[in-house]
């Protein structure tokens, strides 16, 4: 009896649900087998790269959606609430790991599952609801949920199952299998505000007929470490390190990620009017400083954690002018995408766009980048916030225009004959122009994920002077910077830790050691810094291998040509990192 309880608490089961089994969805629970030792991104990448045929259609029965908590999720370790969602991406055609905060990772970890794998594809048009609690797994048809936006869906699940649940869900965008569809995870207040946003993972969930996974860990315990004393000590040192670093201990809790608006605009690297220039005149109106002040004034919260055990608390709560909840504090990437990139300088409109994106279930980065491409096509005017809101509502409705926009920036650019479309591997660039922040430009070009800033956040060292300093305006040093960050990130993404620990871990060796000590104390390992790097390299190698088998070549590791030929004001810079150097990023 005791063994079964311990086994249940140690996150060593894989839950597979074959949505296309004869007679209806079939549930299988197995031990980890060859996937033992993996977690988070390492787990999703290992399963996808082994089990998904790289040439399959992403919406077919051959694709798999892998949902995996990190190695430390479900423990009392601070910051350990990140969830990885992996598949072949409908947006990029390559492997995808999309990462989300919220409660789901910790709850899945405590329920004992190292991965939930959705396989196959239903033969009927039915929509399914999956419920996982201490008693097991139940899956049932619930067509009353069809086309519910995420907030309404969660309200319905709360009525049905109580308020101790967490939800993973898709909105109408995922049901319509749009390339920009996200998967929502509820936060501590049971709001669908955290998203596995990038790469169309919501479309894959929709193609498998799953609307929501309702999770309840009532009756389950925290996962127990092998060495509780060492674990407790390591956690204390880890938390101390995070609190003492000025970014994780002060700036992020006070202002959130949108503190970056002013600095990127001052640095001349803030993509404005669909990447036409690097400074936005309206930046301070939509800055983190302005937003924090407004939130406080309206009774919202400028400091808020997205999952239990977060000590950084970079999130917040944004109320409308009447003091009613509107949305979570919009992130920098969201504010940029719907703000300066579209020429919009009204923060309330941006907050409304954030709410709509969350409700329809779309990637805020791709949505904003797509609107800007649509503006370049003349579908709306740059700066017209009302028009932007209307365009997002078209997406939610699934009108023909909405379906086009829901295909993402590359699809929209193709349909409307737009020349300048800022994508790599079909995925839109986030909130840093690669010409003025060249390190992140290397990451955009070479990451197996497509244009992705978190995959190797060179902005930290190019702009923020974290982990040293490398001039953002020159090509030198950027290859090594991006390589090291991509490796470190792939490893961190496997632990379940929020990537923002990197600010403290890059600057403070003792905090990096505390992270290793957490892993070692929990699992009884002897992982060193070299071992951590080896984990990151392994994950990246599996991803590169999948992409190669999917047909990717070095030609996919390039920025669009115009970034090398057209200068960006105010610094008049072009992306001049050589192609042959981009091909060296994965040399190890």
């Amino acid at each position: 009896m005791l063994n079964i309880t311990l086994w249940r608490c140690s996150m060593d089961k894989i839950l597979r649900i074959n949505m296309g089994a004869e007679g209806g969805p079939k549930i299988t629970v197995t031990p980890l087998g060859e996937y033992a030792g993996f977690g988070g991104r390492a787990m999703t990448t290992a399963i996808v790269s082994k089990e998904v045929p790289p040439l399959c259609h992403p919406l077919s029965s051959e694709n798999k959606l892998v949902i995996a908590p990190g190695m430390l999720s479900g423990t009392v370790a601070a910051m350990s609430g990140r969830l990885s969602v992996g598949c072949k991406s409908p947006l990029t055609g390559g492997i995808k790991e999309s990462n989300s905060g919220g409660q789901a990772a910790q709850v899945i970890g405590r329920l004992g599952y190292a991965a939930i794998v959705l396989e196959g594809k239903p033969v009927t048009e039915d929509l399914y609801k999956i419920v996982i609690n201490k008693d097991g797994v139940k899956i049932s048809v619930d067509n009353s949920l069809k086309m519910l936006p995420n907030y309404d869906l969660v309200a319905k699940m709360k009525t049905e199952f109580g308020d101790k649940i967490s939800c993973i869900s898709i909105g109408p965008a995922g049901e319509m299998k749009m390339n920009i569809a996200s998967i929502a995870c509820t936060d501590m207040e049971l709001r669908p505000t955290r998203h596995a946003g990038r790469g169309g993972v919501g479309a894959v969930m929709g193609s498998k007929g799953v609307k929501t996974i309702v999770l309840d860990d009532t009756g389950m315990s925290m996962r127990a470490p092998k060495d509780p004393e060492k674990f407790k000590d390591a956690n204390k040192r880890f938390v101390d390190g995070l609190k003492q670093h000025p970014v994780t201990g002060q700036a992020l809790p006070a202002f959130g990620t949108n503190v970056l608006t002013n600095i990127l605009s001052e640095a001349g690297g803030y993509p404005t009017y669909n990447f036409k220039q690097g400074t936005f005149a309206g930046a301070s109106k939509i800055s983190g400083e302005t937003m924090a002040e407004l939130e406080t004034k309206r009774g919202g919260m400028p400091t808020h954690g997205c999952h239990r055990g977060c000590v950084i608390r970079c999130s917040g709560v944004y109320n409308d002018k009447d003091g009613h909840y509107l949305t979570k504090q919009p992130e920098y990437e969201t504010v940029w995408a719907h703000g300066g990139n579209c020429g919009i300088d009204d923060i309330d409109s941006i907050a409304m766009l954030d709410f709509l994106d969350d409700n329809f279930g779309v990637d805020t980065i791709e949505m904003g980048a797509t609107i800007a491409v649509a503006m370049d096509a003349g579908i709306a005017k740059f700066g017209d916030a009302e028009a932007a809101i209307d365009l997002v509502k078209e997406v939610g409705k699934g009108s023909h225009l909405g379906r086009i926009l829901g295909g993402g920036a590359a699809v929209t650019g193709k349909v409307f004959g737009v020349e300048r479309v800022p994508v790599v591997k079909g995925q839109a660039m986030p909130a840093y122009d690669p010409r003025a922040v060249k390190g992140v430009g290397v990451t955009y070009a070479t990451s197996p994920m497509g244009a992705d800033h978190t995959a190797g956040y060179a902005v930290a060292t190019n702009i923020l002077k974290v982990g040293g300093f490398i001039d953002p305006l020159v090509a030198e040093g950027q290859i090594e910077l991006s390589r090291n960050l991509q490796i470190a990130t792939a490893a961190i993404d496997s632990t379940g830790m929020c990537i923002f620990i990197a600010f403290a871990v890059l600057d403070q060796p003792e905090t990096f050691q505390a992270l290793l000590d957490l892993l070692n104390a929990f699992y009884g390992l002897n992982l060193t810094g070299d071992g951590f790097i080896a984990l990151g390299q392994k994950v990246l190698s599996m991803e590169r291998d999948f992409n190669a088998r999917a047909g990717f070549t070095s030609q996919q590791d390039r920025l669009p040509r115009y970034f090398s030929t057209e200068s960006l004001a105010p610094h008049n810079v072009k992306f001049d990192v050589k192609d042959e150097d981009l091909d060296k990023v994965f040399n190890w």
Binding site: A251, L260, E266, S284, V466
Partner: protein, 74 residues
């Protein structure tokens, strides 16, 4: 010479958002920091006209000096 000074995030507290000030030619960034009583460690990111600069950078007439405390995001 005239320069524009912009302060951000926590540096604005008890100071200002933006100001125009006069300094003698050859003034360095460090002089301005001392004038504003900003300890060097708190001026984590310094731009002159949008480019990274050190505290020994010599200011010129018409320059914009932007100063940030340690910040991050993603």
């Amino acid at each position: 010479m005239h320069i524009q000074i912009k302060l951000f995030a926590t540096l604005r507290k008890d100071r200002f958002d933006t100001d125009q000030r006069e300094y003698t030619a050859g003034t360095t960034v460090l002089v301005v920091l001392n004038d504003l009583v900003i300890p060097e460690g708190e001026a984590a990111i310094i731009f002159v006209n949008g480019k990274h600069a050190g505290t020994d950078h010599v200011m010129l007439d018409g320059d914009t000096l932007s100063i940030f405390p340690p910040i991050g995001g993603g």
